[in-house]
């Protein structure tokens, strides 16, 4: 005798609703709390301690000694959250963003701090330094 043990289950399932999520017609399945999405970098909070460079297993960070910040390329990120846990100032955070497909691996959404931005930060830092020096000079007069 041929045994068809799945037959009854299949017939029952024919009368049920499909258990699928027809994205993109609907919202994607909601992410849980503490979901590990794309890294967000707050360059102003960064103190240039290089902890993230040491801990990242994927080579996302390049340290920029001139401005004491880091440049990121999250195209390489494996979403392990180690940089977020180790950053002493909270300059690195994980977002909920996970729809990250792109035509270009060097898309600007994967990059924080380009060489041009680094130049700007450098200028700003120098101005700040000058202003501080002037303020000091005034005080001592």
């Amino acid at each position: 005798m041929i045994r068809l043990p799945l037959l009854s289950t299949v017939i029952k399932n024919l009368f049920k609703k499909p258990a699928t999520n027809p994205f993109p017609k609907t919202e994607p399945v909601p992410v849980p709390e503490n979901f590990r999405g794309k890294i967000v970098y707050n360059v102003d909070k960064c103190v240039g301690c290089r902890m993230c460079v040491t801990v990242c297993p994927a080579g996302v960070f390049v340290y920029l000694p001139e401005i004491r910040k880091v440049a990121l390329w999250t195209g390489r990120c494996v979403f392990c959250k180690q940089c977020v846990d180790v950053c002493p100032t909270g300059a690195l955070q994980m977002s909920d963003e996970f729809l990250l497909a792109s035509y270009d691996k060097y898309d600007s959404k994967f990059i924080y701090v380009t060489p041009e931005e680094a130049e700007e930060i450098k200028k700003k830092q120098e101005e700040l330094k000058k202003a501080k020096a002037q303020a000091k000079a005034k005080k001592s007069q």
Binding site: G59, V62, W73, D104, Y106, D107, I111, T114, P115
Partner: protein, 172 residues
């Protein structure tokens, strides 16, 4: 007397040249570490097979330690009742004469690990029935051993890095 101690007694009698040690980790799990000179390596492995014919050969590890290459085998003995004897057999060959006897007639699986050690670190297993490469591609250069830390290891030119856009200045 525990299983390990019994085993260690026999080893000490039969192989006085071997260096035997029982170590215990912080969870109380004990492991026997034995280092044998390469002259008695084959005899020692034969003895293990006789001591427990179901001995389980888990893995072999090759390591560059400077002047010599270490070759260690992790085995599990007498595992009908837990805890089994966890055993590491280590032997060492000098780099100017890196030859070890093949033991794949005693533990058949060892041939796979020997083939790996031959291509990765350049130990020659005498009389091994199969000396073809296992993991390295066929067009990989001869005489270069990826796990060597000396000048027979991977040269700088062979190391490729896909590059960070900041350093390539390709960011938009």
């Amino acid at each position: 007397m525990s299983k390990e101690e019994e085993f260690v007694e026999i080893v000490k009698q039969k192989f006085p040249e071997a260096n035997v040690e029982i170590k215990e980790n912080k969870w109380g799990r004990r492991r026997v570490w034995i280092s044998v000179p390469r002259e008695s390596f084959r005899d020692f492995m034969k003895f293990l097979k006789e001591y427990d014919e179901d001995a389980h050969y888990s893995i072999a590890i090759e390591e560059d330690v400077g002047d010599a290459i270490d070759f260690s085998i992790h085995l599990l003995l007498k595992y009908e009742d837990t805890p089994a004897i966890s055993l590491i057999v280590k032997t060492s060959v000098p780099k100017d004469d890196p030859v070890l006897p093949d033991i794949s007639d005693i533990f058949p699986i060892s041939l796979q690990f020997e083939r790996e050690a031959m291509e990765m670190i350049g130990i020659d297993f005498e009389n091994a029935p199969d000396k073809r490469r296992l993991f390295l591609p066929d067009d990989f250069p001869e005489g270069i051993y990826p796990l060597r830390l000396d000048d027979k290891g991977i040269p700088e030119e062979m190391v490729k890095n896909a590059g960070h856009p900041y350093l390539l200045r390709r960011g938009k």
